[in-house]
Symmetry: C2
Subunit: 351 residues, 2 copies
DNA sequence: CGCACTTGCACAATCGATGGTGCAATGACT
DNA sequence: AGTCATTGCACCATCGATTGTGCAAGTGCG
């Protein structure tokens, strides 16, 4: 009843109530009162009033004064994806432990949207920004630099700011090896039986495709040109690619390298309504880890990108000067089929 | 080179450059210039300068003046979960289309953290808040009301503000029916062969458990007391529950009602390292939809909660007075095994 | 020409918190 | 008592944008 829909108390309110000046109230409540030689008694009084009236600072006002906001941004392509959302989970914990407020927004892999989103966040004077999987990291960089905003690229590298990315070449190499190893010497995999689906013209895909080619050539002796079906990061396009392949060949390849969990969803759509037998003997490598994906009816070897390490490294970099910009590779991990890993959620109390 | 790390331009900078007063510049740039009878020529000049100097408004200053920020918050328990992250995806699109900036934060299902997080967001004068799956919605409500912040509960209801939740009773009923229907008349399911794993003492779980009990009794004629293993929303606790069950009985139940995808991850952990044969014949109902979970080696019937409809309804409610608070039920959908649904990501350009 | 309007804009207060500076009161010391 | 240092706090400008108000110059009309 006491504090209905009344506006929040300000230092001016407490100033009147306590008989002290607003600046004294401010000093007490932001912790600088000792430095400003405010008497302990005065402070106590003000603390009491603050508690009684549920005072909390107006962070916009403080931010305006400081040209900082206490907000720290994470810009992801999409929320609805285990890789990015587990990154967000880790990110939040880090930011909170720094006493700041995490803000996660998505920019839909649209360069224009990416820049607009950065602009918006900058208008709130955010203190830092991680740019995850941006289509145009350097475009976002322009915007950030013009505003003097500290930022780090994650997952896809830019040329103007520090970047922390997966070691996609190495990851794709070990994944391709693992797929090939899955077939015994009695009936080994032939080069024309292993296809890569997914990917687009971004740094990560290019690296993975290069490693895929190189490893195929090294291990299988050959690598036909049509072994890569580029589909973008779209389930629907990936589905279409599988359907085209199936229409042409009457079956799926024996083995698949799927570029991401999003592309894997294209495979799921292909599976829906088709007989399970169609997928017998299939071996899939997926460049992403999803616990449910790991238990499909056929073996799915996965790559788990180490998002915790990437976020940690990014926080290390955010406070260091960016010149010259460097790219840091974080080694991903091969996950054998039927693995249920622990994740960031496991650190929560109970759930 | 031009705009190195120089501070952002303000209306005062443009004021000097244009020879107009700051208030004129402000009026031009915030669109009220016609109302304030600023000459078109003057406006043009200022628009030009603004563009040239890449002016963007300081939204903290604007927010301070307006006691609004243009930020709209979504507080979820965790990011790392398809249900919540797809909700976030839908939420973002809505907020953007309202011309506001979405802010997604997680509160870890910790009542204290929930209140603190709300406090923080309020300190930034956010314009609205959706409280998703809160452990203590009414506690958060207190905080919001004291600040006059519009808010709606989603997924778990409160008693003091409008709530939009899944029709958990109905969903659990049709899920339980579907599980039972999965078994033919030759070898029908016995009451002691169907167990519920997961859930805690929240509204959703209580409703689901009630429906589970009622449906079992109605369809199978009986319902032993120990048919519900409460584990919270924790993969690890759920794993432990499965292990206990298995240790006691030497096998899993024939059929499972798993309370959420998070609890399903506990089942995955149980599966890891155990022979696939152990899960032959198993039928699972899962109260959540995950595309990968839909294609496990045994039939998994899922409930897809309609997060799009819930978000849409919540936006409808946010602008209406909250008295008296009502709870709106959104019907969830039964998803047969091996289904790969389209999701919010499919509306994106390509990926 | 004189008066009433309209046009076009400047002025200044305001939102809430911060921090540099100044100043009175008190105490310490010669 | 006089000097100086310290204590304890108030004053005020400031961050950038918004908006109510006031006012000079221009226009129209009798």
């Amino acid at each position: 009843m006491d504090s209905q829909v009344r506006k929040k108390a300000t230092i001016y309110d407490l100033s009147v109530l306590s008989g002290s000046s607003p600046s004294t109230v401010s000093a007490v409540l932001n912790g600088t009162w000792q430095k400003r030689r405010i008497a302990r008694d005065t402070a106590q009084t003000i603390f009491g009033l603050a508690e009684q009236h549920q005072y909390t600072a107006n962070l916009q006002a403080r931010g305006l004064r400081h040209s900082r906001s206490g907000l720290f941004g994470l810009m992801v392509p999409v929320h609805d994806n285990r890789y990015f959302s587990s990154m967000a989970q880790t990110f939040e914990a880090h930011v909170r432990s720094r006493g700041q407020c995490p803000v996660v927004v998505s920019a839909s892999r649209d360069p224009e949207e990416e820049r607009r989103t950065a602009e918006t966040l900058i208008s709130y004077s955010i203190d830092g920004l991680f740019i995850v999987g941006a289509t145009d990291p350097d475009g976002v960089h322009q915007v950030c630099r013009a505003a003097g905003l500290r930022h780090v690229n994650i997952d896809l590298p830019g040329t103007k700011a520090h970047s922390v990315i997966s070691d996609n070449y190495e990851g794709a190499r070990i994944l391709t090896e693992a797929i090939i190893d899955r077939f015994g010497p009695d009936d080994p995999l032939r080069p024309d039986q292993l296809y890569l689906f997914g990917g687009r013209n971004d740094h990560a895909s290019r690296e993975r495709i290069a490693a895929f080619h190189a490893t195929k050539k090294a291990r299988l002796g050959d690598d036909p040109d049509d072994g890569v079906q580029s589909t973008g990061y779209s389930p629907e396009m990936t589905l279409a690619a599988f359907e085209r392949f199936h229409a042409r060949n009457g079956r799926l390849p024996r083995a698949l390298f799927v570029n991401s969990s999003i592309n894997m969803e294209g495979l799921l759509r292909f599976m829906a309504g088709r007989p399970p037998e169609m997928f017998e003997g299939l071996v899939v490598g997926c460049y992403d880890y999803d616990p449910f994906g790991s238990f499909l009816p056929f073996p799915v070897i996965m790559i788990r990108q180490n998002s915790e390490a990437m976020i940690a490294k990014a926080f290390e970099l955010i406070d260091t000067a960016a010149s010259p910009p460097q790219t840091f590779l974080i080694k991903p991990e091969l996950i054998q089929p039927r693995s249920a890993l622990r994740g960031p959620l496991d650190t929560l109390k109970d759930g």
